[in-house]
Symmetry: C2
Subunit: 222 residues, 2 copies
Amino acid sequence: MNVGKRKPAPVDPASVPKAVVSRLSLYLRELQQLLRGGQTTVSSSQLGRLLGFTDAQVRRDLAYFGHFGQRGVGYRCDELVRAIRGILGTDREWTVAMVGVGNLGRALLGYRGFNAQGFRIVAAFDADPGKVNRTIEGIPIFPPDHLGQVIREQAIPIGLIASPAAAAQQVADQMVEAGVVGILNFAPVTLALPGHVSLVGVDLATELEQLCFSVANRAGPR
Amino acid sequence: MNVGKRKPAPVDPASVPKAVVSRLSLYLRELQQLLRGGQTTVSSSQLGRLLGFTDAQVRRDLAYFGHFGQRGVGYRCDELVRAIRGILGTDREWTVAMVGVGNLGRALLGYRGFNAQGFRIVAAFDADPGKVNRTIEGIPIFPPDHLGQVIREQAIPIGLIASPAAAAQQVADQMVEAGVVGILNFAPVTLALPGHVSLVGVDLATELEQLCFSVANRAGPR
DNA sequence: CCGTGTGAAATCGTTCACAGCC
DNA sequence: GGCTGTGAACGATTTCACACGG
């Protein structure tokens, strides 16, 4: 008994280092690649080599969440993919509400990679009256004052901010007010959010600055 | 003597933790914001509070690179901005070559945030004959077989990959061959690069997965 | 008196190295 | 024989706490 489909989680997920979770995404991406290539099994050392990590690191990362490998053999790619998706929470579909249908927003509306991993943008908002009340890539664009209602009615858990920096905090506040519990922020500002809302920020200029620093200081890849 | 404009760098820049450099970008962004608001001085604790870091962390991070503060007062915003830009290397203009003028590529061509921080995309490439030999946002689009020549002639140091995943490694190889020393990769694949080339990867689906994990595990903001 | 800069301590994350199992 | 899972050692980063200077 007590040995069902679910592996026991050896630790509290909140105590897992952030770096581990971000490597998990990379493992997932690589495993899906391997599966497409017809490979059924990987060892920690192969997976590590492909990504530039050590084999010990790969094993340790996975061991945070359970026993997924087979001694002497390695990991079954399909099983490990399922397991990682379960850990990340991407084994179900997540709906996303986007604000800001500018250059970047439009690109994200058409980005296939989101759907492929289980994310679906179901509503977008923009302050420009010329953009609202139509669909782009099949996604309806609403005026900003519909934000609360749409998010609430569809119980959308994730917000994506691609608005100008000056509007971002206000947009975030409205999203949180409407019940969003996670925000992906592309606006180049720091957002202040209540503790129960998760935040991931992506600042494109900042990423280039990181690159710039390592180029200017010849630090090799990342 | 020996007290010129340049502060001495207390340590080898290559030995600075990566996390420190990424916070440097955030300090910079916040300082520029403060300057726009007319503030001339910040303390480590104010800067930390704005970004969610401790005051000790801010001071330690900055101390890797020199003595920028004044005891009893704090840091002069304008001086610190100049200092951080000098450290990151964004006190000069960097030219960038982009490959892949799809959804995302077009958005990046029009992204104002790059110019604002000193990056200028000066050439783009795409395999679609319908897109080449014209300009978008003032940037010329070339066919892929011009890549080597254009990058070499203009001595472009930075490559930006926004091509489909399947093409990314080949594109990267050609960029490296042409002399690029840093690559910002938006394609969802792991690139293999020679050691003298720096790499920063941004995978949009991966970022959403991180968010998803922390939402699913209620870990609060990042 | 306030806030920086920094040794020293504490914490966190990675790597080693090997027992255990297929 | 090969490869996982994991205590223990190690190294890196963060936090503490206080001396020093404006």
